[in-house]
């Protein structure tokens, strides 16, 4: 299952390598990772999309929490959230099919950012499904190049409190308990 993990980190040199290194060292796969400064310039937010069963994701969040430069980790998968990705698509177009492509672009409320005689480049923002859908529709025309930012996400709930401790381990302890007794019954 795909998980959306939001990580607040110190805005230091080397932190990205630390986080990325953790994933590779433990054999976890990252689908996408987007980083940028937050409202507080000393803090960056990483949005990580990773695949894994509950146990793998639990390990990932625990291991992330262990990193000294990680301030807070939140699994947004089950949360109400806003998530967006931006993609630039360079599609092959000539005079004959340009209007057809533009129709698709309009339907998706995408933006044309560059046109030349042989191709058109569009900018699309949305959640992952929307982006996958427009890619699917443009594929028959021939896609020359694609670049995606990776998903960024924010919880709809109130902002993460920077001053508080990392997600308290106590908050998690009930979880495995429930699972096991469930199984044994």
């Amino acid at each position: 299952m795909k998980h959306t993990i939001s990580v607040l980190v110190e805005n230091h040199f080397g932190v990205l390598a630390h986080v990325a290194g953790l994933f590779s060292a433990r054999g976890f796969n990252i689908d996408s990772l987007a980083v940028g400064e937050t409202e507080d310039p000393t803090v960056s937010r990483m949005t990580i999309i990773a695949q894994g069963d509950d146990r793998t994701i639990e390990q990932i969040t625990k291991q992330l929490n262990k990193l000294i430069d990680v301030i807070k980790v939140q699994d947004l998968t089950e949360e109400e959230k806003i998530s967006r990705e931006l993609v630039l698509i360079k599609a092959q177009t000539g005079a004959q099919n340009r209007s057809e492509v533009l129709q698709i672009v309009n339907t998706f409320r995408a933006k044309v950012v560059d046109v030349n005689p042989h191709s058109i480049t569009v900018e699309v923002t949305g959640n992952e499904e929307k982006i996958d859908a427009i890619l699917e529709l443009l594929r028959p025309f021939g896609i020359k190049e694609v670049v995606r930012t990776g998903t960024i996400a924010l919880s709809r709930k109130s902002e993460l409190n920077l001053k508080g401790p990392k997600e308290a381990p106590e908050a998690k302890v009930e979880k495995p308990e429930k699972k096991i007794t469930g199984k044994k019954k």
């Binding site: 110190e10 262990k66 001053k163 495995p176 308990e177 007794t181």
Partner: protein, 557 residues
């Protein structure tokens, strides 16, 4: 007053009350070594930087205080990597200071440049590159704090030469505040309550104790808890010494080379209380068959250890000492007579044993005798392999911080430098290094260090002319095809080698010579090397082969 980075580094080490620095100088760390020269801090010059990192580790395990090593950039730093990885796997507090080329040339493949931060990222608890001299004092303060709190571990400070020359006002911070690092100490009260209930209900409980108990300084609390409840105690190799092995409640070590009765007890238990242990594969055997009837309470300071390999029923995140104290107040003597009778029967039926016949020197015999002659109270370090497992089985440890061994990484060559570090940390105690011929030859250059600084460690080399554990596996699982495991013809006479370095060297070839040689070693006030020529093809039993359940034990005929 303004100080240079080098002066700040040395002053900061003094503020941290560092007793000894293990290391070796080189180009870019010279400004710091220049300050060290007349600083009054004790410096131990090693012969190879791996030795420095193991000495710092041995010092830390013996004392509980962070060990410190200081080396130069490039090869100096890369040579410490094995030592860092060893300390990281076994949660040992260490601060490693590496020189680095000037910030202006980092990344240009300068002379003796290595990406130390990148290389050591996965073998340290945290690492720092000091880019500005004004950050230095805070970084050193944080490094010692991070290394020695929570789940301890090695922290590396990469220190560029230009930063060591730059000047700033020196103020050593009084407190540390790292918003991303706040270890939990007191366990969650509800979980402790629940654990106490589980303990009071148990009919066949076992305590399974790891290195976390020693790191937390909780041996006394564990002993009190075990004696109050009457719950038998088994330990991992790193947990040895947290509970006296001569106590009737002791089941000795569990796992691949654990006792029959420890392993049977775990497999038969209805409640397993894991205390600062992490369910290593050498402990669990086949995970799916581990402790099949048991509910598990897991006390650990590291939340990521919990349910990592084995799902547990009652996790308690926090410091072992705090939690054991809280639990002891909530429990009473358990009525588990049937269970302890069963365990007694296993103990009688399956004691640890070896073949005592003949004139040949057996490692088990030597270790047994070292135990007797030191009243089981020496500090013992080991290399890795058969001699390590026999030490764990036959020494009968009484005190915490007395078994110093590379359990997680399994680093051959660890024992001898670790013994030097341990002796420097605890000069009044007898320190033995029980080593293998293979292990010893990986770091024997430190004989020069031991002789130069007159560090009276007693090295016992079990020379079976092989990488013994490898040979054992090849005998049992690879049709006796001894590929790459024979050392015999190339081994030197280690006693003569020791003499060449200026240490006392004694060669022992017969069983009758063992005790007199050990007595001589104990009387000697300098470093000693006892070259024990031991049985070549002896195997460590009991043994649970990889992929088997803990109660599927192989033993000698």
């Amino acid at each position: 007053m303004e100080l240079t980075g080098a002066q700040i580094m040395v002053e900061s080490l003094k503020q941290e009350k560092v007793e000894a620095i293990f290391g070796l100088p080189g180009g870019v760390i010279l400004p710091t070594f220049d300050v060290l020269y007349d600083s009054g801090l004790r410096f131990i010059l090693v012969r190879h930087e791996q030795g420095a990192s193991h000495m710092a580790d041995g010092y830390a395990r013996a004392t509980g205080r962070p060990g410190v090593c200081m080396v130069t950039s490039g090869p100096g730093a890369t040579n410490t990597v094995t030592g860092l990885a060893t300390a990281y796997m076994d949660s040992v507090p260490m601060v490693c200071i590496t020189g680095q080329v000037a910030t202006t040339v980092i990344g240009s493949d300068a002379f003796q440049e290595a990406d130390t931060i990148g290389i050591t990222r996965s073998v340290t608890k945290h690492n720092y590159l000091v880019k500005e001299v004004r950050d230095l004092a805070r970084i050193v303060k944080e490094a010692f704090y991070i290394a020695s709190t929570g789940r301890p571990g090695p922290v590396l400070i990469d220190f560029p030469v230009d930063v060591s020359r730059a000047k700033t006002e020196f103020v050593y911070p009084k407190e540390v505040s790292i918003r991303g690092y706040k270890p939990t100490l007191a366990g969650h009260p509800k979980q402790i309550e629940k654990a106490a209930e589980m303990i009071l209900e148990a009919k066949r409980p076992v305590l399974y104790v790891g290195g976390g108990c020693i790191a937390s300084g909780a041996a006394a609390e564990l002993t009190e808890f075990a004696r109050k409840t009457g719950i038998p105690v088994t330990t991992t190799v790193l947990g040895l010494g947290s509970f006296p092995e001569t106590d009737p409640l002791s089941l000795r070590m569990l796992g691949m080379h654990g006792t029959h009765y420890a392993n049977y007890s775990v497999q038969g238990s209805d409640l397993l209380i894991a205390v600062g242990a992490r369910f290593d594969d050498r402990v669990t055997g086949k995970v799916s068959l581990f402790a099949p009837k048991a509910r598990i309470i897991h006390i650990d300071i590291d939340p990521s250890s919990i349910s990592k390999t084995i799902p547990v029923h009652c996790p308690i995140v926090g410091d072992v000492k705090h939690i054991l104290r809280a639990l002891t107040g909530r429990v009473k003597k358990l009525e588990i007579g049937e269970w302890t009778a069963q365990i007694e029967e296993w103990k009688k039926k399956h004691p640890l044993k070896y073949d005592p016949s003949g004139d040949v020197v057996r490692q088990q015999y030597v270790i047994d005798k070292i135990g007797e002659l030191t009243n089981h109270e020496a500090v013992v370090t080991t290399g890795v392999g058969q001699h390590q497992m026999w030490t764990a089985q036959w020494y009968r440890f009484q005190n915490p911080r007395s078994m110093i061994t590379s359990g997680g990484l399994g680093t051959m060559g660890y024992g001898f430098p670790a013994a030097i570090g341990a002796k420097i940390g605890r000069p009044k105690e007898t320190v033995f290094c029980i080593d293998g011929d293979g292990s010893f030859q990986m770091t024997l250059t430190e004989l020069a260090t031991a002789v130069y600084y007159k560090i009276p460690v007693k090295v016992v080399i079990m020379d079976n002319a092989h990488h013994g554990m490898v040979r054992q596996w090849q005998e049992l699982f690879y049709n006796r095809r001894y590929s790459g495991s024979e050392l015999g013809p190339s081994n030197p006479d280690f006693s003569k080698l020791a003499q060449a370095y200026g240490a006392l060297g004694i060669r022992v070839e017969k069983k009758a010579e063992v005790v007199p040689a050990l007595e001589k070693a104990l009387q000697c006030d300098g470093p000693v090397v006892l070259h024990m020529v031991v049985a070549k093809e002896d195997n460590v039993y009991p043994m649970v082969p990889t992929g088997h359940a803990l109660d599927q034990v192989m033993d000698m005929a």
